[in-house]
Amino acid sequence: MYTQALNANAEAGERTLEDAGLAARFQERIDAEERIEPNDWMPAAYRKTLTRQISQHAHSEIVGMLPEGNWITRAPSLRRKAALLAKVQDECGHGLYLYAAAETLGASREELVDQMLSGKAKYSSIFNYPTLTWADIGAIGWLVDGAAIMNQIPLCRCSYGPYARAMIRVCKEESFHQRQGYEIMVTLAKGMAEQKEMAQDALNRWWWPCLMMFGPPDAASEHSDASTRWKIKRFSNDELRQKFVDATVPQAHYLGLTLPDPDLVFDEATGHWRYGAIDWEEFKQVLAGNGPCNRDRLAARRKAHDDGAWVREAAQAFAEKRRAAKHAAQAA
């Protein structure tokens, strides 16, 4: 569902003893909009940045299954239940496409997953907020997926071939996710007073965390330079955030809902919606592990991993036995 601008350490300043000629040739290829493929030479920092970004993106998809998964068993109609299960399943699929892309850079899935389970690797801050009512499922589809799309569409043109291809597939599949969410919101907004209240409450709780999804403001962001130069990132955090606000505010108005920002105002001169100050301290705290659900999310993923260990071992043991039996039969 989402990759966040979390690559806090600047890679650009890294000193490596790489061949200057190779590095220059690499940058020429990037500048010419050529795609880089797994076996091609690439600077170590490019590989590291991408491995981290793609795996964080994958972790976000997988952890992102949990808040929405929280409502699959309680979805209010069979149609909604099927759609939500299919959507959460898609998130899992997207996580898998992304792990596959990350593995082309030389990291193993096991390694990457361990980094997430140990709390070392990050995932999108948005999934550390709880889904309290059914309207949260609408809000996530509409806002979180809406924000994700803003971010993911440019990634379809990312310089790294396997990542770009995974994103094309993800974007194609995700086109139903945001519509699914907005349809839920429309139904609530047109429903009984309690339903409309539920929708407004969900918007109130998800709006600011969604704006934080785009990462720190450009002025505070240290890492964009290298990612931009390498054409991994094509728009700045603030540019994407502005795009999202401009697209979303009229959609909220259509629903008859109020955005929880008293400073929100349309700027005639620029044609953009100007929004109020984002609470970056909250963002920092959530990233640091202090969001309302960080511990629960990690605990759920660890439990699935630990409880499943005997199943994975069984599958491997069986495969090993069959291989041995086949060899024995061939030898005989």
Binding site: G69, A75, C92, L96, K303, A304, V311
Partner: protein, 258 residues
């Protein structure tokens, strides 16, 4: 607008359709509980796919029941506004997921019955039933293959997986007898040639079970007492909790549309 539980005008065909739909919905719901928690992400995909197939089957069966009953009910009225006693699913499908072995053995026992059952139902003179069966058969054939492959791997994997698989077979065995039962209403449908006799599937079911369990190095349980009651609404305690999850929204906001 009616609130609370609905009253179903149960003809034999309506009751028949609701029972099969309930089987599919409850098992689909159980599988959906795994979403995000499976032993490996690849299996998360598989469990959700099977769950979606089953929920889809439930929806078409409920929709047909609504058409036959012609009392203004729809799929959601049946799913969300009948209480435990009104549900007619098998005890087998409402059993909690337990560990992955329980889930896969449950799926295997059920699919090994339903796949030939749907195939037989494809010959029904009731064109709607035959069409529902034709679609469901392809799905259950895959569920059978997938669950059988896992039962074999768990049974013949490690000592631990063998122990867990054997425990799952022993635990769930007592819930398999109910699949072959038919009450007087269903007997009438069988006599008219509208639906197959589940009893006729007992021997092929046993043969399929014996074949897979042998590959899994697991023993087929012999005889033993068979639990029943699901078909007449006498469920285990588990179903009520499942329904309080499933029906929460419709019960908390009567009359709302979602």
């Amino acid at each position: 607008m009616a609130e609370g539980s609905i009253k179903v005008a149960e003809t034999p065909l309506v009751r028949y359709l609701l029972r099969r739909a309930d089987d599919a919905l409850i098992l689909g719901h159980r599988l959906s509980e795994w979403c995000g928690h499976a032993p490996m992400m690849e299996e998360d995909m598989a469990l959700a796919n099977m769950g979606l197939d089953l929920i889809g089957q439930a929806r078409t069966l409920y929709t047909y029941a609504a058409e036959v009953e012609a009392a203004g009910h729809d799929e959601d009225a049946y799913a969300y506004r009948r209480d435990v006693r009104g549900y007619g699913n098998l005890l087998l499908v409402e059993q909690p997921n337990g560990d992955f072995a329980r889930t896969m053995v449950r799926q295997f026992f059920y699919s090994a019955f339903m796949d030939p059952y749907w195939r037989a139902l494809m010959a029904s003179p009731d064109a709607t039933l035959a069409a529902i069966a034709a679609k469901a058969e392809k799905e259950s054939a895959y569920h059978l293959r997938h669950s059988a492959e896992w039962v074999i791997r768990l049974g013949d994997g490690t000592d631990e997986s063998h122990r867990r698989a054997a425990e799952a077979v022993a635990h769930l065995w007592a819930f398999t007898g109910e699949m072959f039962e038919a009450d007087a209403g269903e007997r009438a449908l069988i006599a008219d040639g509208v639906v197959p006799d589940p009893e006729s599937l007992r021997a092929p079911w046993r043969a399929a079970i014996a074949d897979v369990l042998a590959q899994a190095t697991l023993a087929v349980p012999e005889g033993g007492w068979m639990q029943k009651g699901g078909r007449s609404g006498a469920h285990s305690e588990h179903l009520g909790h499942l329904l309080s999850d499933l029906q929460y929204m419709q019960r908390a906001f009567p009359g709302a549309r979602w």
